[in-house]
Each structure stands twice: as C-alpha cells, then as structure tokens.
C-alpha cells in the first residue's frame, strides 16, 4: 500500500468518526428525564445520590454528618455536571463560587441548598518549608493592608470580572514551582486562550512578583497536589484548597486568604426548563466543532496533548522493547541468578497496576530527584511493557523448532550467530501479532499520566471539557485520536516489517 | 471341542466344533463308545465347524471306521475345510471316505 493511499484512508476515517461524534452530540437532547421531587434541605439531599469531587471537604462533610448518604465521587466539574444532567446523581455538592460560574454555562442547573457550611481556604506548603510559608503570610498581610486584596476579592469573587491585571515582575530571583489544577474552573483557575487565569493564578503571580521569582506552574489532578508538595515535587500548592485537620497532617497551610461556602445543586426538571429550539443538525456539529476546537485556539492544546501522548508511547515502546529483550535473555539464561532476577521482575511488575507503578516511580523512586514527569512516565510504561513483552519474546523463541538451532550449530554457526540469523527472524515474525496488541494497550494506558502532572491528550480533553462543559464531543474526539495514534504506530511497524521482511507473498503467488 | 449328535434309526451324525487334538480326542472317543452301544448303519462326521485337526484326531477317526465296518455299516466325513482336507489327504483318508462338500456355516 502506498503512503498516499494510507493518508487518504486515515483522513476518511477521522472524518467518519467526527460524523458519528456529531450525530451522538446532536441527538442527546432528546432523552427526557423522569420527574422526581426536588430536595430542599440538606437532610433531603442526603436521602438521594450526591455527587462530589474526589478528595474534597464536601466528601468528608457528607461522610461525617450523613454516613448513610450515597456519595459518588467525580474527578472534575464537567464529569460532575454531566452526572447531574444525566441523573446519575440527584444533586451535586460543591462550593457556591464555582457553582455560580457553572450555572452561567449550564442554565439547567438550579440551587437546592445554599451556604451549608463555610471553610477557610489556604495555600499548602511542605512541612519543612516554614520559610516560604512565613513569606507568604507576610505577603498576604501586606496586600490586605494596602487594598490590593480587596480589589482582588471584588473583581474575582464578588463581581465576576475575569480580566487578569498586569503584574510587574523582574523575575531575577530564580523560579517558584507551584502545583495547580488547570481545570479547577472559574473564578479560581482556568485555561483561557491557552493562558492560565483566575483568582488563584493572580494570587500566585502576585506572590511571585513579591519574591521576584518566575512562577512555573505544574498542572496536576487535585488528588495529586498534596503528594506533590509533600515530596517536594512543587514548592507550594494553590488550588482553592480548604484547610482541614486531615490535610494539616500532610502539609502546612498559610493563613486563610478567603472563605468558601458550600452549595447543593440540582438539575431543573423538564417542566421548569424552557427548552431552547434545538439547533439544526449541521449547526449543532458546527457549534460543537467551533467551541471545542477552534475557540480560544483549543486545537493547540489538543496538538500538544497528541505530541505528549505520542512521545511517551514511542519512547516507552522503544525502552520497553529493549528492556524486555534483556529480561527475556536473562530469563532464558542458564545462570540461576539472572534467571531468578528476571522471574521476580516479571511477576512483580505484572502484579502491580500500572497507575500505582507510575506514582511509585514518580513520587517514591524519584522523590529526591528532580525528574521530568514525562521521563518518569516513559520509565514507568517502559518497565511495565518490558514485563509483558519479555514473556512474549520467550514464548516465540521457544516455539521455534530446536532442530533448526541444531542445524545451525552443526553447520558451523556459533550460538550467537545461530540466534541472530536463524532463530530471531522467525521469532520476530511470530511475536508480532501479540506484540502489536500489547503496543495498543500501552498507548491507551498512557491516558493516566495526568496523575503525575503530564498534560497529555486525555488531560487536554479534560481541560477543554472544563471550559466548554460539552462532555460528548471532546470525549469522542479523544477516543478517535487515540485510535488514530495506535493505528499510526501499527502502520509504522508494518512499514518497518515490510522493509526488513521477506518477499514471501510474491513467491507464494508466483509459485 | 463341542460334539452335537443327531440320530434317526441307525444313522448317526456327529457335528464337531472347535479343535480336535491330543487333548480333546478323548471326548470324541467317549462319545463314539456310547454311539457304538447300538448297531450303526451310517456314521457321518460333520467337520464343517472344525478348526483344527491333528494326528490324535485322525487315529480316533481310523478306529471308528474300523468299528463301523465290523458292524457292516459305513462311515463318511463331510464338510472338512481346506486345511483339514489336506491332512485327511496326507493319510489317504480321502480315498476311503465319502467327501461331501458343504457350505460353510
């Protein structure tokens, strides 16, 4: 098959998938939700299914005060809103400030209970880093006394004015690494036109300017923040983190910089919603496409995500294959030590979920080393890949008839030559089908790197969803793109195979 | 060996099944002694189910023929298979008995 035809095929494929995405997106308005009575008090709320964000105080609050409540945990706001909208939960329990913002984008959301409780919000520091914490408290006291803080509070929290002010910073005093969550949502942290903005971002930038340090943002999952700061991966964490006793055990907090109150939201019943005229099918597709890809140059996010996912996949495959070959060689060696090490490696690595392995490598193995999370991800996936492919290699090598090895040895080849010229070419051909399957698994597995603050394709789609609150289009687009990456890698592998392999089919048809 | 006897008046037929060798010949000898208690006109030995015959059996046949002839009767052998006929011929039996070909069982 020529390269050009491949590309035509690929484009067609993507186009067809986009069509399916659009159809699904356009049709979803049709499903009617059944009418159920709406809760008005916290006690009513606790009788139904409540959605919260994973690892937040709302989760803890419910468990403490309503132990019998059915609580479902979500990773981010878009997922939670989607759950409320699709009635996977009866209500969502979040902070009132974020809710106000979400309501602008999602008019079907209604307030059920307001100001359930309030909680101070602070910045987290490593417990051994008192100096930085003291500096922050001094900085906070400063802006509170000179009116900067009031201005900040008025703009972001009260008025909902989201323009970032210009902050002078000479940046001549090194760097300040700050852990944030880029899809936290308005007014706290969002990615707007591929730039971070929000109340938290302004606080950080102002603190950076106060220290004359350049701020470096490390974007991660909310659940990963505390681990990151307590292992010194970042110097401080700022993501509207509520100060709780539990968290205080892990990190030290600054003085609170404002109070957050808790609200319960629900979805408007169908009868209450004045349904908008459904846009035409093509208009729907065009809108989705524009919102998720064109607006604010979001395609740049996607392109970066694809690049990261691609880089991690390709290097993890290369590293994993080489390591797998080494492990396979050790496993087949007659030396008991090498064999034992290989056996233990294979069974241990295969017994650990790859997410745990990834976190172990990043937060434990490299705890004291400043390592690029992409490199850690490549190592983790490579190590995992090696454990699986080494056994595949071994099985395929052992499946080659011993007689051929014997013929090679008897013909005057050394053991190594026999392996290279006779066994390996056949073993490679036999292992390819399963190897390809494992390769696809690896590409898909990389979608968890968001846990160690790597912005890959999945994370890019999460960020877009956090801004557009359109769950379907970005998700299905991500699915299609993963498929395309896998497909492209397999195609490259096929090309490499055809380059090196036999003109077997030719001789078959001729003979 | 199994011997099946049928009699009408003084005509006796003995049908032999299995092996007639130096071990089993005594069974036939005893059976014949019983048969010769009365006068016999025609003694027929049906060998169509006989599988094996050795010289011990031949000797029994010989003495039986002698006895029947003394009584003024006749003896004939019928249905012998190829291998057994060959043995009968070796000893010249084929000349002195009436061979009647019979179909196999």
């Amino acid at each position: 098959m020529s390269g050009k035809r491949i590309w035509n095929k690929a484009i067609l494929l993507v186009a067809a998938s986009m069509m399916i995405v659009s159809i699904l997106t356009a049709c979803r308005g049709g499903a009617e939700a059944p009418v159920t009575p709406q809760a008005k008090t916290m006690d009513d709320v606790a009788k139904g299914r409540v959605g919260v964000l994973l690892g937040t105080v709302y989760d803890t609050y419910l468990q403490k005060n309503y132990p019998n409540a059915q609580v479902l945990q979500y990773k981010n706001y878009p997922d939670l809103i989607l759950a409320v909208q699709s009635e996977k939960v009866d209500s969502g329990f979040i902070n009132c400030q974020a809710f106000k913002e979400l309501q602008k984008e999602n008019p079907f959301l209604v307030t059920l209970v307001t100001d359930v409780f309030t909680n101070p919000v602070g910045v987290g520091f490593n417990q051994e880093n008192d100096a930085l914490r003291e500096e922050f408290n001094a900085f906070l006291a400063g802006i509170k006394s000179d009116g900067v803080y009031d201005d900040w509070y008025q703009r972001w929290i009260k008025n909902g004015n989201y323009a970032m002010p210009v902050i002078e910073n000479p940046k001549n005093n090194g760097k300040l690494v700050v852990g944030i969550v880029s899809d936290k949502g308005y007014p706290f942290t969002v990615l707007e036109n591929n730039k971070l903005v929000g109340s938290d971002i302004e606080i950080i930038e102002r603190f950076g300017a106060y220290l004359k340090k350049e701020v470096v943002f490390s974007d991660m999952e909310f659940g990963g923040l505390i681990a990151a700061v307590s292992t010194n991966k970042v110097e401080m964490i700022v993501s509207t983190i509520m100060i709780t006793d539990e968290r205080k055990k892990q990190v030290d907090f600054s003085d609170p910089y404002f109070e957050l109150s808790a609200c319960v939201m629900g979805a408007k019943k169908e009868s209450e919603t004045a349904r908008k005229e459904a846009p035409s099918f093509f208009q729907g597709v065009a809108d989705s496409f524009y919102n998720n890809i064109i607006a604010e140059n979001r395609y740049l996010l996607i392109v970066d995500g694809i690049k990261t996912t691609g880089v991690i996949s390709v290097f993890a495959i290369l590293f994993g294959t080489l390591l797998g070959a080494l492990i396979c060689f050790m496993r087949m060696s007659r030396q008991w030590l090498a064999q034992g090490v290989a056996k233990i490696y294979i069974s241990v690595i295969r017994g650990i979920p790859v997410l745990v392995l990834l976190m172990l490598i990043f937060y434990v193995v490299f705890a004291r080393v400043d390592v690029n999370p992409v490199v850690a991800a490549i190592l983790a996936f490579g190590v995992n890949f090696a454990a699986y492919v080494s056994e595949m290699f071994r099985a395929s090598i052992e499946s080659i008839d011993k007689g051929q090895t014997e013929a090679g040895i008897a013909g005057g080849f050394t053991k190594a030559q026999t392996f290279i010229y006779i066994v390996m070419p056949q073993a490679i051909r036999r292992v390819l089908p399963v190897y390809k399957g494992e390769l696809i698994t690896l590409v898909k597995m990389t979608s968890i790197v968001g846990y160690i603050a790597v912005q890959d394709l999945t994370k890019a789609s999460d960020i877009i969803r956090s801004r557009t609150f359109d769950a379907f289009f970005p998700l299905i687009m991500t699915a299609v793109l993963y498929f395309c990456i896998s497909w492209l890698l397999l195609w490259l592998l096929d090309m490499a195979e055809q380059k090196t392999a036999l003109k077997r089919s030719a001789s078959k048809t001729n003979g | 060996m199994m011997i099946h006897k049928t009699q009408s008046d003084s005509d006796v037929t003995l049908a032999l099944t299995g092996r007639l060798d130096s071990v089993t010949q005594s069974e036939l000898t005893q059976e014949l002694e019983k048969v010769f208690e009365a006068k016999i006109n025609l003694l027929t030995l049906d060998l169509s189910a006989l599988e094996y015959l050795s010289s011990a059996g031949l000797r029994v046949f010989l003495s039986a023929r002698k006895k029947v002839t003394q009584m003024g009767g006749k003896m004939k052998i019928v249905g012998a298979n190829e291998a057994i006929s060959e043995i009968l011929q070796i000893t010249g039996y084929a000349d002195i008995t009436v061979m009647a070909k019979r179909g196999k069982r």
């Binding site: 008839d401 007689g403 051929q404 014997e406 013929a407 090679g408 040895i409 008897a410 013909g411 005057g412 080849f413 050394t414 030559q417 010229y421 006779i422 070419p425 056949q426 051909r429 036999l502 077997r504 001789s507 001729n510 003979g511 | 060798d21 130096s22 071990v23 094996y52 050795s54 010289s55 011990a56 031949l58 000797r59 010989l62 291998a83 060959e86 043995i87 070796i90 000893t91």
Partner: protein
C-alpha cells in the same frame, strides 16, 4: 581422518555409549546399523560435538577435538550434518538455506554463493525450487535441500543421521539416489540408517552397533552375508524369537498354543501359517518327543521368524541318546507324515548329549 578412541557418553546415570573405537578414513562410506536405542545417533552427534562426550578421544587430522581451546564452530564447518527431520531454516527460501552458511561463515559474496548454490541445486534436482520456502516442499525435497546446504560448505565429511526415517516410502529413493551419487564422487560419509539394502550397496564399511559398542564391523559382504556374531545375525535377518521350555511331564499344550498365537499376532502372521505351526509343534512334541522324555529332562522349543524373508524356523532341543524321530518309521506314522507334508526341510544334529532338530517351514 577421524580416529575415535574409548569414546563414552552418559545421560545422567544411563550409559548410551560405553567404549567406542573406530577409524574413518578419507573417501570411506561408513554405514552404522543396529537396533533402536543402541547409541548410533548419539555416536554420530558426538563426532561433531552436538553431544559432549563423557570420555575418550576424538582425533581429527591429528588434533584431539575434545581438548580445550579447539575452535569447535570452525571445525563443524568442515563436517556437514543431515538430520532425520531435515531442519531447514523455515524463514529462508531454498536458495537462502543453501547460501546462508557460505555468505556468513565463508565470506563469499552473494552472487558467488548463489551461483554455486544453483549448481548444487541442479545436482540434487531442485533447480526450479530455488525460490520456494521449506513449507512448500515435500519431505524428500526438503532432505535434498538439506544435503545441498551441507555441500555448499564444502565439507570434508558428511554425517547422515537417519536421513530417510521421516520420509514416506515413495520419497526414500530420491534421497538415497543423491547420497549414492555423493558416494560415487568419493565424498567421505558416515550414515546411520535402517535401509539395509542401501547400506549394503553404498558402504565401504559397516558398523553394527549394539549395547553401546561397535559390536561387529566389516565389509558389507561380511556383515550382511556371513555375520560372525549371533546378535548381528539376528538383526540382519531381523529374527523374532519365541522360546518355550517343557520341563514337567504334564505338558500344557494350550499354554504353548496361546504363546505361539500371541507371537504370531504380534508379527501379523497369516492364520493358515499359524495353524501349520501349531500342528507341527503338537505332532513333534506330543507324538514324537514327549513319549521318550524322562523325568527331569527339559525339551526346548524356539520359534524363529526371519521378518526379512518371512520364513519360520522351529528349533527343538532334547537330551538323551542320539535320536532322529524323522527316521523312526515305527507306529502308525500319521504324525511323521503330517510333519513331512507341512515342512520344507528338517535337519538333525547331536552334540554334548543334546539332540537338535531344525525344522524349516
């Protein structure tokens, strides 16, 4: 060219080769024959060190190859080997199989190697299969490719390990024809084979191996026509032997019959022949020998089946005075007549107080 001294090989505690001494000279064609499991293949595989011998010496052109520091792969390049199961390289074409060694090991250019390979393939009659893969060939064709692959390395000797044992009968001759041609051209060869006619025609010398030794060796004429040792004779004529002894006066005819019938069933002997054997055994034993047997004497009966010729021989041994029952015209003679009718030839001999009656059927 190759001298083997006191070669032994053990697998664990099991001695396969015990004490092999042999010499192979340039231009000789040695056939190694013998029953299965007597170490023929192991002996061959020791010669090129596919099996590491447990003891002894293998001297090739004056050098003991079991010493340390010998370049074994280099040595093997001069000793081709053809296997029972062909062992072609499955991923290479016929041409690739033949040229891999010369290109990688002898430094020949691709063109040079392919020209030479084409010539060898013509020699084994497979010119038009040069671009085929092994799985497209019949067994006989595969084995001819394997021979060409050996020849491409220009070996000084070729070891054949049962080259036709895995072949359909229809394909054996095409492989043997190629080996015959090599023999005619003066190639030195050692062949482990079960093809007796072929071994007789093609070899200059035959080793008969049994019990881990070279039990008897000699020219094909010596080994095949007048083997000196009992086991060799039994193997060459492919004798199958049933032995029976009669000690007590109460002889169990039916036990003997059952043994003979089982023995014949094992070698799928025709029913009418089985009947004759039973008859001869009964007549000779019951009517001729048992009546003379005294208490404590033992009569032995051996039934030998020469598989190759499909012939039976019965050997009866009995002690006492010189006595040949075949000359005894006493009694009714019925038994004697039956035995004479059913046999080809009967010989009587007497030695050390034992009469022997050799009855050929």
């Amino acid at each position: 060219m190759i001298t083997v001294e006191h070669l032994s090989k053990k697998f664990g505690n099991f001695s396969v080769l015990k004490d092999i001494n042999a010499e192979i000279k340039k231009g000789e064609v040695i056939s190694i024959i013998g029953p299965s499991g007597t170490g023929k293949s192991t002996f061959l595989r020791c010669l090129n060190l596919l099996e590491q011998p447990s003891g002894g010496h293998i001297v090739i052109d004056g050098e003991d190859i079991l010493k340390k520091g010998v370049n074994v792969p280099k040595l093997r390049q001069k000793m081709g080997m053809v296997f029972q199961s062909f062992n072609l390289y499955e991923h290479l074409t016929v041409m690739g199989n033949v040229t891999l060694g010369p290109i990688k090991l002898r430094g020949q250019g691709k063109k040079e190697a392919e020209e030479k390979a084409a010539e060898l393939l013509r020699m084994v009659g497979l010119s038009e299969k040069a671009d085929s893969y092994p799985d497209e060939l019949s067994g006989g064709q595969k084995q001819r490719v394997a021979i060409a692959r050996c020849l491409a390395m220009e070996p000084e000797i070729i070891l054949f390990d049962e080259p036709t044992s895995a072949l359909d009968p229809t394909m054996i001759s095409e492989v043997l024809a190629v080996i015959r041609r090599l023999a005619k051209n003066g190639m030195t060869m050692a062949i482990v084979t079960h093809e007796m006619d072929f071994a007789r025609d093609v070899s200059t010398r035959v080793f008969y191996m049994d019990e881990g030794f070279i039990y008897e060796e000699g020219s094909p004429k010596d080994i095949f026509e007048s083997p000196q040792k009992e086991k060799t004779r039994a193997f060459i004529q492919r004798l199958r032997i049933l032995k029976h002894e009669i000690g007590s006066q109460h002889f169990d005819l039916y036990k003997l019959n059952a043994d003979i019938e089982a023995f014949c069933a094992k070698h799928t002997i025709d029913k009418s022949i089985v009947g004759n054997i039973l008859l001869i055994a009964e007549e000779t034993l019951v009517n001729m020998l048992l009546p003379l047997k005294k208490e404590g004497q033992i009569i032995s009966l051996a039934l030998e089946y020469a598989e190759k010729r499909g012939e039976f021989q019965m050997v009866l041994g009995y002690p006492g005075e010189v006595y040949n029952p075949m000359l005894d015209e006493g009694g009714d003679n019925l038994a004697l007549m039956i035995v004479k009718k059913k046999t080809k030839n009967i010989q009587h001999s007497y030695s050390n107080g034992i009469n022997q009656l050799l009855i050929s059927m």
